[in-house]
C-alpha cells in the first residue's frame, strides 16, 4: 500500500473535537444558604433516632455537606437529644426542632416524637444479623461465601437469618450439596458461660481466627451479642414479633463532590410500625471504585479522582447504594440544554448535577449513519446521504426515524438481533420455523411481552417451541433453561443459585428451584424432523445411566434438601394446585408482568443504542451492579409497559431523544465521561454488519456456501444479517470478528483482537473486493468518474459524510502521484474500510 493508505489511516481515526470553552469557577464559592436534611422527622418509640445532615448551597452551583463544621442544637432537649455523631434521639413524646448554624446561615428541622415509652424489641435477624454484616463475618469472602469458612457458614449479608440461627445455635459444619451437617452438632454459643461462646471467642480473637479480630471485647457490638446469648439466644418468630424492616434508605442517593471533598452519608432503617432508626454507624460501606471515591466505616465519603462511582451500603438482609460524581471544578454558568423527552430530562438532569456539559447535537452525517446502523444494520446509500444533508426540513430526523422503522431493512436487522437473543440454531428445519417466527413477530411489530409469552410457554411444532430443542434435540436441563430465560427476560443471572444461594445477590437456591419447577414437565415427541414440544404431567424422562433401563422422570428436587420443590414464584408464592394445568403459561404470565421484565428489555435496548446499558452488562442486574440512572430506567420501563411493550415505540423514544442524537465528539468537560451519555460513545459494528458494510461500500457481495451434506449456496447478494442458518455457512471473516455461535446467551463484547488486524491486511474480504470487476471502484472508473467524484462517493458510502476540504485535496493529490490510478483508488478504498471511523458506529 502506498502513501495514500498512510495518510488515510492518520486522518480516518475517530475524529475528536478540540477543547471547547467551558466557564469554570475561578474563585472561592460563596455560601448562599444552608438546609437540614431531612427537613422534618417523626420519631416513634423509645430511642428512635435519625441522623441529620447540614447542606450548604454555594454560588458555584454545588451543594456541599457541612455538618461537621456546623453548630447543631435541639430546641427542647426534654423531647429529643443530640447524639455524639449528630443523630437526633427521641427522649419523650412531643414536638421540638433541630437547629443548625453555619457560615452565618441558619436552618431548622421539625421533630415530632411519639410512643417514647415503647422500646423496639430485640431481634436476632436485625440486630445480630446487622452486626455480623457490618463486621464482614457474613461477607462473600468469609463465612458468607458459597461454602462458608472453616465449616461455619452464614447467609450472605444475613439474608437468611433462620438458617444462620441454626448454624449458630445448633452448630454443625455446612455442606454445599446436602442439608445434613458435617460432623457432630456443637453449638457455637454457650448459654451457661456466654463469654465462652465460640461466636464471641473467635471474632474477639480469644481463639485463633483466620479472619482476625472482628469484634473487640467491650465494643457495643460485642456487648450486644453477649447480651443476646445471656438472655437465652432467642430467635424472633417474624421480624421483631411482627415488626419488620421495610426498607433501608441512604441520603444522599446521588451527590457531587469535588476531588478531596467529602460528604457524609445518613442511613435510616424504616420499620413496619413506622419507627425510624439511624443505622449510619451500623452498616458496612463499600466503594465500587476506590479510584473515584473512598468511604470510611462511619459513612464519610471522600472524592479521590474524577469520575463516578457507587457506594454500597449493606446491612442485615438489606442493601442500598449512593452514587457519587467527583468533579474537578464546579461550572459557574451551566448552559441551557434543550430537551425532547423524559430521557433528556433524566440524562441532562444528572449531567447538570454532575457538572458535566453534554456535547453538541450530532452533525447530520453523523446522525444518519448512526441511526441507520442502529435501526437497520445498514449503511445509508450515498444518494440518501446527500438528500438528507441537503434537506432543510426541521423534522427531517423524525421523518428518517419513521422511514427506517417501517423499512424491510428494520425487519431484517432486528430478526438477526432477536435470533441472537433467542438463540435460533439447531436442525435447519427447526431453524427455519423458529427464524420465521422471529421475523414474522418483528414484521408485525408483535408486542414484546407477547413474544416472550410465546417463547416461554411454547408448545407444539411452531417456531418458538424450538428453543426447547436446540440443544441435542431434547429439552435442556432444567437448570439451564431457568438460568437462560431468567437472564433473557428478566435481565438477571441466577446461574449460581442452582447450586447455592447466590454469593453476590439475593437469589437463593430455593428461589431457583422454585422457578425450575415450572419447566419440569417440558418434553417432546419423536426424534426426526417433526418433534413436538409439550408438557407431560409426568415430566421428561431422564437418563438412566449406564446399563440401566428403568423409566424415571425428571423431578424437581432441591439439591441440598432433596425435597420436591413445587412451582414457586420469586416472592415465595407457591402456585396453587388448581392453577398447575399449564405451568409454563402461568410462569410466562408472571414473568411478563413483573417489573423486571420491562426493565430488562429497555436496558438491553439502551445498551444497543448507547454501547452500554443503564445496568452494564445489560443482563446482569444485581445488588452490586446498580443502574447509573435508576429513574431513567424506571421511566423507560414504565413507558415501555404503558405503550404495550411496543418495541418500535421504545426504539423511537430512544433515538428521538437529544441524548441519543448528541455528537460523538467530546468537549473538554466531558471527555472522561463513560457513564453519563454526555456524548455518543463509538461502538464497534457487529461482525455481520461490518461484513455487510464492506460488501456495500466495495460493491461486491459476499458469497456464502453451505457446508456438509446439504451443501448449497446462499442466493447472490444475501447479506450476513439475513443468513437464516448462519452455522451452515462457514466464513473466515465472521469467525475472526467473533460471530457468536448461539450456544449460550449471546453477548457481543466487540473487543478487538490481533487476528482482526491481520485480517485487514491479508484477507480476501479486505483485499479481493477492492478492485473486483463490477465493484464500486470498477463501476466508477468505467463511467469515467473523476478522482474527486470517487473520493466523495467513497466517503458518502462508507462514512456518510463528505470529505473535508483538507482530506479531499490531500487525497486527490496523492492519487495523482501514484503510478496506477486504479491501484491508488483501491488503496484508498482499503484504507477507508480499515478505518476506525468506518468500523464503528459513532
Amino acid at each position: 500500500m502506498g502513501a495514500v493508505v498512510t495518510v488515510l489511516i492518520l486522518s480516518l481515526g475517530h475524529r475528536e473535537a478540540g477543547s471547547e470553552d467551558v466557564r469554570l469557577n475561578s474563585g472561592e464559592p460563596e455560601l448562599l444558604s444552608i438546609r437540614l436534611e431531612p427537613e422534618a422527622v417523626e420519631l416513634q418509640g423509645a430511642g428512635a433516632t435519625r441522623r441529620f445532615l447540614v447542606l450548604g448551597a454555594f454560588s458555584d452551583g454545588l451543594q456541599r455537606e457541612v455538618t461537621s463544621a456546623s453548630r447543631l442544637w435541639i430546641a427542647d432537649p426534654s423531647i429529643a437529644r443530640l447524639g455524639a455523631l449528630g443523630q437526633v434521639v427521641s427522649v419523650s413524646s412531643g414536638r421540638t426542632e433541630l437547629r443548625a448554624e453555619f457560615g452565618g446561615r441558619a436552618a431548622q428541622a421539625g421533630i415530632l416524637t411519639s410512643g417514647a415509652e415503647r422500646r423496639r424489641p430485640f431481634s436476632f435477624s436485625w440486630d445480630i444479623g446487622g452486626i455480623l454484616t457490618k463486621r464482614g463475618c457474613n461477607g462473600s469472602n468469609c463465612h458468607g461465601g458459597v461454602k462458608g469458612r472453616g465449616g461455619f457458614r452464614l447467609s450472605s449479608d444475613a439474608t437468611h437469618p433462620a438458617e444462620d440461627y441454626q448454624w449458630i445455635v445448633r452448630g454443625g459444619g455446612y455442606q454445599v450439596l446436602t442439608a445434613e451437617a458435617l460432623g457432630p452438632r456443637q453449638s457455637r454459643i454457650d448459654l451457661d458461660r456466654p463469654e465462652e461462646s465460640l461466636l464471641l471467642q473467635k471474632p474477639s480473637f480469644k481463639v485463633a481466627h483466620g479472619g482476625g479480630e472482628r469484634l473487640a471485647v467491650g465494643t457495643a457490638d460485642y456487648e450486644a451479642v453477649l447480651n443476646w446469648v445471656s438472655r437465652g439466644a432467642g430467635f424472633e418468630g417474624n421480624g421483631q414479633g411482627g415488626l419488620e424492616v421495610e426498607r433501608v434508605e441512604v441520603f444522599p442517593s446521588e451527590a457531587v463532590i469535588e476531588e478531596k471533598g467529602t460528604h457524609r452519608l445518613a442511613v435510616t432503617a424504616y420499620f413496619s410500625d413506622g419507627r425510624q432508626e439511624d443505622i449510619t454507624g451500623q452498616v458496612r460501606y463499600e466503594s465500587l471504585n476506590e479510584e473515584v471515591v473512598r468511604v470510611g466505616e462511619e459513612g464519610l465519603v471522600e472524592g479521590v479522582g474524577k469520575g463516578e462511582a457507587a457506594v454500597m451500603i449493606r446491612t442485615a438482609g438489606r442493601a442500598a447504594e449512593a452514587r457519587f460524581g467527583v468533579i474537578g471544578k464546579a461550572i459557574e454558568e451551566y448552559p441551557e440544554v434543550p430537551r425532547r423527552n423524559f430521557i433528556d430530562e433524566e440524562v441532562f438532569g444528572k449531567l447538570r448535577r454532575f457538572h458535566l456539559i453534554p456535547s453538541e447535537l450530532s452533525e447530520d452525517g453523523e446522525f444518519i449513519r448512526r441511526v441507520c446502523l442502529d435501526l437497520t444494520g445498514t449503511l445509508p446509500p450515498p444518494e440518501r446521504v446527500r438528500e438528507f444533508l441537503d434537506s432543510r426540513e426541521e423534522d427531517k430526523r423524525e421523518k428518517l426515524i419513521d422511514a427506517l422503522l417501517e423499512s424491510p431493512e428494520y425487519v431484517d436487522y432486528w430478526t438477526f438481533r432477536f435470533a441472537d437473543l433467542f438463540r435460533v440454531k439447531g436442525h435447519y428445519r427447526w431453524v427455519h420455523v423458529y427464524w420465521e417466527w422471529v421475523r414474522k413477530s418483528l414484521a408485525g411489530n408483535k408486542s414484546y411481552d407477547q413474544m416472550a409469552r410465546e417463547s416461554i410457554a411454547a408448545q407444539g411444532y411452531d417456531g418458538p417451541s424450538r428453543i426447547y430443542l436446540i440443544d441435542n434435540n431434547k429439552p435442556p436441563a432444567l437448570e439451564r433453561v431457568v438460568a437462560e430465560q431468567f437472564r433473557v427476560f428478566m435481565g438477571r443471572r441466577m446461574d449460581c443459585a442452582q447450586c447455592h444461594n447466590h454469593p453476590y445477590d439475593r437469589w437463593t437456591q430455593d428461589q431457583f428451584w422454585g422457578l425450575a419447577a415450572f419447566y419440569r414437565r417440558v418434553t417432546n415427541t419423536d426424534w426426526a424432523f417433526d418433534n413436538v414440544v409439550f408438557d407431560d404431567p409426568d415430566g421428561h424422562e431422564v437418563n438412566f445411566g449406564e446399563g440401566g433401563s428403568t423409566l424415571s422422570f425428571r423431578e424437581n428436587r432441591h439439591p441440598r434438601t432433596r425435597q420436591l420443590v413445587p412451582p414457586t414464584f420469586l416472592d415465595g408464592r407457591v402456585l396453587p394446585g388448581r392453577d398447575r394445568r399449564d405451568l409454563r403459561r402461568e410462569l410466562a404470565t408472571w414473568m411478563t408482568t413483573h417489573p423486571y421484565f420491562a426493565q430488562a428489555m429497555v436496558n438491553r435496548m439502551w445498551g444497543h443504542f448507547f454501547g452500554r446499558g443503564i445496568v452494564e452488562p445489560v443482563d446482569d442486574f444485581r445488588l452490586g451492579n446498580p443502574p447509573t440512572h435508576p429513574n431513567l430506567l424506571n421511566r423507560l420501563a414504565r413507558d415501555f409497559q404503558e405503550h404495550g411493550y411496543d418495541l418500535k415505540h421504545l426504539m423511537r423514544r430512544i433515538v428521538s431523544s437529544r441524548t441519543y442524537q448528541l455528537g460523538s465528539r467530546p468537549n473538554a468537560n466531558n471527555r472522561g465521561d463513560r457513564l453519563n451519555y454526555s456524548h455518543a460513545y463509538p461502538r464497534p459494528l457487529e461482525a455481520e454488519v461490518l461484513l455487510d458494510a464492506i460488501s456495500t461500500v466495495t460493491g461486491v457481495p459476499e458469497l456464502y456456501k453451505a457446508e456438509g451434506m446439504l451443501s448449497g449456496t446462499a442466493p447472490p447478494g444475501t447479506r450476513a444479517i439475513n443468513l437464516k442458518f448462519p452455522a451452515s455457512y462457514a466464513n473466515r471473516f465472521l469467525e475472526v470478528f467473533e460471530r457468536p455461535k448461539r450456544d449460550v446467551v449471546v453477548a457481543r463484547d466487540g473487543k478487538v483482537n490481533l487476528m482482526q488486524a491481520l485480517h485487514m491486511t491479508v484477507s480476501p474480504t479486505y483485499n479481493e473486493k477492492l478492485g473486483k470487476k463490477g465493484g464500486r471502484i470498477d463501476r466508477m472508473l468505467q463511467r469515467g468518474a473523476s478522482n474527486r467524484e470517487i473520493v466523495e462517493e467513497l466517503y458518502l458510502a462508507a462514512l456518510s459524510r463528505f470529505p473535508s476540504e483538507e482530506e479531499q485535496a490531500g487525497l486527490e493529490s496523492l492519487i495523482q502521484e501514484q503510478p496506477s490510478r486504479r491501484e491508488a483508488l483501491e488503496d484508498l478504498l482499503w484504507a477507508v474500510i480499515c478505518s476506525r471511523e468506518f468500523a464503528s458506529n459513532h
Binding site: 437497520t376 445498514t378 445509508p380 446509500p381 440518501r384 422511514a403 427506517l404 423499512s407 424491510p408 431493512e409 435447519y428 428445519r429 427455519h432 420455523v433 420465521e436 414474522k440 414484521a443 408485525g444 410457554a457 408448545q459 407444539g460 411444532y461 434435540n473 431434547k474 418434553t523 417432546n524 415427541t525 419423536d526 426424534w527 426426526a528 424432523f529 417433526d530 418433534n531 413436538v532 414440544v533 409439550f534 408438557d535 424422562e541 431422564v542 437418563n543 438412566f544 445411566g545 433401563s549 428403568t550 423409566l551 394445568r581 399449564d582 403459561r585 456464502y704 456456501k705 453451505a706 451434506m709 446439504l710 451443501s711 448449497g712 449456496t713 446462499a714 442466493p715 447472490p716 442458518f725
Partner: protein, 652 residues
Amino acid sequence: MRLSLRAFLVGSLILAASGNPVSAKEKADPQVNSLFPLGGQPGTSFEVRIRGENLGGVHGVWFDCDALEAEVRKIEKTVEEVDVVQQAGTTAKDTKEFHHVVLRLHVDHRAAVGAHTLRLVSRQGLSNPLSLLVNPEPQIHESEQSINSPSSAQPIEFPVVVNGRLGRPGELDYYAFEVAEGEHLRFEVLTSTFVNATVAGDPQLILYEPTGSWFDPQRIKRLEVRDETGPGPGTHQWVTSHFLPRLIRRFDRKGRYLAEVGTLEGQGGPDYSYQLRVVPAPARDSGASHRRFPGEPAHGSSALVWQERDFSRRIDRDHLSRLWSRSIRVPEAGQEDKTAMGAEDAARPEKSNRSPLAETIDPSKNLRLPSPTREEEPNDRASRAAELSLPMTVEGTIQHPGDVDIFRFKAGSGQALAFEIETPETVPPFFNPHLMVVDGTGTELVSNVYREVAGVGDDWIKSIKAKTVYTFEQKGEYFLQIRDLTTRRAAPHFRYRVLVRPQVPHLGEVAVKTGRGEVVDHINLRSGETRKLSVVTEPEEGFDGEIALTLENLPAGVQALAAATTTVNPRLLETGNGRGAMHKERFFPPRHLATIVLVAGRDAPPTPMPQRVRLTARPIVDGKIGKALAVQEILLMICGPETEPARVAARN
C-alpha cells in the same frame, strides 16, 4: 384403490446403443434422479426430460396408470463435474457420466390428479420410481430467459402450475402476478426429487410486494401470509419427505406481486425441478389443508403393503372386515358375530376363538361396525362421558385449548382390546392426538405414547402411535380420553376417529424388504442369477398361527424356492430402537423372517417389460389354512442383452 396397472413399452430407433455389447458399467441398475417438467395437465402431451445414471439402454417407460403414455425420443450423455465427499469430510471434484432421456409424454384426460409413478425400462432392468404430478390447472414452463431477480420476474396468471427448476446453487426464481382487491390465493411449491439419492433440500416460497424501501427503490418487501409450510402429510410418505411450502393470502390491495421460489439452504442443480401452483383459495379456509396435498399418490401405494399404524389410514365401518379378512375367523356355534358383541360377552379367553371349525372370513356377515358416535360437548369429565358399547367408533374434534373428550365403556376381565386412531384432516406434528384409558380412580392403564431409548443411547424418546393394544385385568368401567398432546393447540380441523374393538388376531404387514428394512418395490434379475428375498411378517394381536408364502405370476424360467438361511439380518427383526422400550408389545407386533430365493434359469428369457409378481400370504391356524391374501406386488424384470427394444404394449 385402483390397481389395474398397465405398462407401456415404447421402442425407439433413436436408441443407438441398443445393439451394442453390454459393458460392465451398463450392468448396473438404471437410476433416475429427476425429471423436468414434474408433470402436466390431463389431456395434454409434452416433452419430459429425465436425468439419471445408467440410462443408456432405456427403451421404454412404465407407469402405474394406463392413462399415461410415453415415447422415448432421445438419449443424451453428459460428463459432469461433481463434488465428492471424501472420508475426511472434505469435498473434492470428480467427473461423472449422466444420461438424459427425453420422452414425449401424453396424459390422458382420464388421468387421476395426484402423483403417478414412472419408471424407465432398459436392458439393465427397471429403474427406481419417479413421481409425475398430474394437476388439473393449466401448466406453463419457467421462462427460458433469466427470472432470477425481481426485476426480471416471469409474469404468470392463475390458476396455474409453473414447471421450473433451480438450476444452480443459490438460484431464486421470481414470478410476477396481478391480483384484484380481495383476491384470496393459495401458493404451493411441489417437488418430487428434492430428496433422493443425489440431492437433498427443502423448497422455500416467499411472497413479496415490490414497494421499494428507503434504502433501495428496487427492494421488494416480504408479505405476511398464512404460512402452512411444514412437513408433507405423513413425513415419511413416498412422494416427499421435505417441506411443503404453502402460503395463503388475501390481497387487500390490487396490484402486482411476486412469488420467489428457492431452497432453504440454497441448494440447486439439474435435479431441482419444482412446480409452483397458484390457485384461488376458498374465502373461508379452515386451515385443514395439511391433509389435502396435491402431491399425494393418485393410486395409493403401488406396492400394496398393508398399513396398520398410519394416522391417515381410513377407519370406516368395514375396518373390522378387512382385519378379519387377514385371518381365520372361527365363530362358535350359533354366534355369527362375536366381535360385535357387548363387552361382557366378548370377554373370554382368546383361545376360545380358535375352534377347529376354522373358516375363512365372509366380510358380508355382520362384520360392519356400528356407525360412529359423534362426541357431544361437554364431555370433558368422567361424569359427563357418554357410555358406549364395544366395538365403538367415536368421532370428535379438539375444538378449544385444553379440550378433552371422554367416553365411557365397559371391559371384562382378560378382555383384549385394540385402540386405533385416525386423524382425517390434520396429521402429526400439527395435530397430535393423545389417547389414554383410565380406570375409575383416574389411573392411566394405557396410552398411545410409546417410549424407548435411542439417539446416542442414553436419551428417552417418545412418539405417539396410531394404534395400541391392551388386555384389561379387571372387569369394570373405564374411560377413554382423547386430547391434543399439548395443552393449548386446538382447531376445527383437529378431528379424530377412534375405534375401540376386540383384538383380531391377523396378519399385519408382510413384505419383502431390503437389508435396511425398506420395502422392495422392484427386482432386476439377470438370466442365471439367484436373489435372496427376505420376507418380514408381522403377526398382529396375538396371531400365533403359521403364514404360508408364495410368489405368483413369475416370468418364464424363474422359480421361487423356500430357503433356510444362516445369515439373518437382525435389523429386519428389530421393532423399536433400543433399550428401555416401554410396553413395546402394545405398539409393535413381533416380527418373523422367511427367506425365498428367486432363481432365474440360464435360459430364462428376458422380459421386455417388468412383470408384476405377487407375494401372497395364507394364514394357517390349528392346521386350517385361510384365504390367500395378495400382500405385496413387486415388479420383476429378467434382463439380458437380447431384450428387444421393440414397441411393446404390456398389460397385466
